[in-house]
Amino acid sequence: MKIPLSYNIRNLWARRLTTSLTVSGIALVVFVFAAVLMLAQGIQDTMVATGSNDNVIILRKGTSGEMMSAVSRDQIGIISSFAEVAQMNDGKPFASSDVVTIINLRKKKTNDMGNIIVRGVTPSSFALRPQVKITEGRWFQQGSAEIVIGNKIHDQFENVDIGQQIRIGTKLWTVVGVYDAGKTGFASELWADADNIMLEFNRSTTFSSYTFKLKDVQDYEVIKTKLETEQRLQDLDVKREQDFYLEQSKGMATFIKALGLVITIIFSFGAMIGAMITMYAAVANRTVEIGTLRALGFQRNSILTAFLLEALALSMIGGILGLILASFMQFVSFSTTNFGTFSELAFGFSLSIRIVISTLFFSLMMGVIGGFLPAVRASRMNIINALRAS
């Protein structure tokens, strides 16, 4: 006992101006909603892509990031002897002992200073992180004051071209190459020789972290147990590299989501009131039609469903339009300070199926809430009064 959907769609078309204004309002709110989710997703995607599922990272217990962590050479020696650590062809562990510090660089666009991670890496680091590829110049030479720049830093900061010098600690370091690290956090870093960086910062015996590849992904629990039982490793913590980077993005992603959703919810009230006004006007304009349909034998719930579907169609069109607009944000990328690491992170807007579903659900909810009361009003109309409206 359904009123054909074409009746509702054609009515929306018949009131094109009102329909397009309402749809625009909904589309704008949906755009903001989707953009916020895409931004939070973008941060998470960037950080998650930085890590690999078969890598594990060792940090000092209780530290939230590499900056505050310390892992001694002795401890690294013990861990690298574990049978679960994958080995390269030359028999050396498939691992990287990293030392991490932060320097300030000036942004090209805003002239503001930004915190940039300088990662001192060991030679095996390049094999461990195959996504990092030199695109201009060359890699730094071990033992020299040379540095390579992540492409995102190269794009957005001043004085980081090949041949230019950057002050790190007491020395000036020469930029010798630019690397591409895809959509990972490494693209927002500077890389140099670990020993040289340690020397500069007077920390010759401790690294910030130790990352290695597992021989078998399933060995994670074995490594974890070993670390917990080995007396000399009691102050260390082990995490899957991907989980570690996900944690690093959580604070920032949650902040963006919370702030964005609060703004969106406030906006959505406006859009819902817009939809409600449109639907009340539709009901008022079609009072005689409602009376006629009821007289012909259509039940109250058929009328309710028809008007609710009309509001849903309105919000769905707005939702799809907002989503299409938001999808263009995927071409935009920028950098800001990640709260998790207090350092600059370049990231983009990332659209996922989950965001598409959430956004469409959100827009449909606006339609349901905005359309419900007018639909109830339509369904409760007295037939005789409705027919008399002619």
Partner: protein, 225 residues
């Protein structure tokens, strides 16, 4: 001829706040099957109210209304809607077509409440549009049709489910004389050729003249036959 509509001691009182307005007082009326009845009377006499009660879009304050043996005063709202869809065909003064639907879709509307197949619906709609002489206009929207043509579409919509009773509320009230004549001829044909029982409210004595029988109402009471 057996009695199709039996109105027994029907009273209708409207309430406005504490004020009670009696509209129909102790009305009794029998309409035999196959009848073409015209209800006449001045404005406010209660003729449309009586029509609304017989067609099941309003309920009497007291009394009973039996249509083809069903006491419709005892049906709840949902059952009454179902009953209307099967038993009543409406023809309104201002046609009440849905402007965004084509003539075909308007006529098809009551069939959406039936279990007929798509093919059967199509056959029925095309058949009744042929009867009213608008087979070539089925894809036209109401605004592309004249008043007389719109009323013919409305009549097609009223008869497409083959209802027990055809109800006309001033069906010629908005039409010029020529179109009104065509509509009255069509109603007469539906009555004589297709054996439809028709109850029609009208102000127009000429329109009432098309009916077999005229009932007058005044101040909520039947005055003459």
């Amino acid at each position: 001829m057996s009695t199709l509509v039996e109105v027994k001691s029907v009273t209708k009182v409207y309430k406005r706040d504490t004020l009670e307005i009696p509209v129909l007082q102790n009305i009794s009326l029998d309409v035999p099957e196959g009848e073409f009845l015209a209800l006449m009377g001045p404005s406010g006499s209660g003729k449309t109210t009586l029509l609304n009660l017989i067609s099941g879009i309003d309920q009497p304050t007291s009394g009973s209304i039996l249509v083809a043996g069903t006491d419709i005063a005892k049906l709840n709202e949902s059952a009454l809607a179902k009953w209307r869809s099967r038993n009543i065909g409406f023809v309104f003064q201002f046609y009440n077509l849905l402007p965004v639907l084509t003539a075909y879709e308007n006529v098809e509307l009551p069939l959406l409440l039936t279990n007929l197949s798509k093919k059967e619906k199509k056959e029925r709609v095309e058949a009744v549009l042929s009867v009213v002489g608008l087979a070539d206009r089925m894809d036209h929207s109401p605004r592309q049709l004249s008043g007389g043509q719109q009323q013919r579409v409305a009549i097609a919509r009223a008869v497409v489910t083959d209802p027990t009773l055809l109800i006309g509320d001033e069906p010629t009230g908005d039409l010029d004389r020529k179109s009104a004549e065509e509509i009255l001829t069509l109603l007469g044909r539906l009555n004589s050729e297709f054996k439809k029982t028709i109850i029609m409210v009208t102000h127009d004595p000429h329109a009432a003249g098309s009916a077999h029988k005229i009932q007058h109402l005044d101040k909520g009471e039947l005055t003459s036959q």
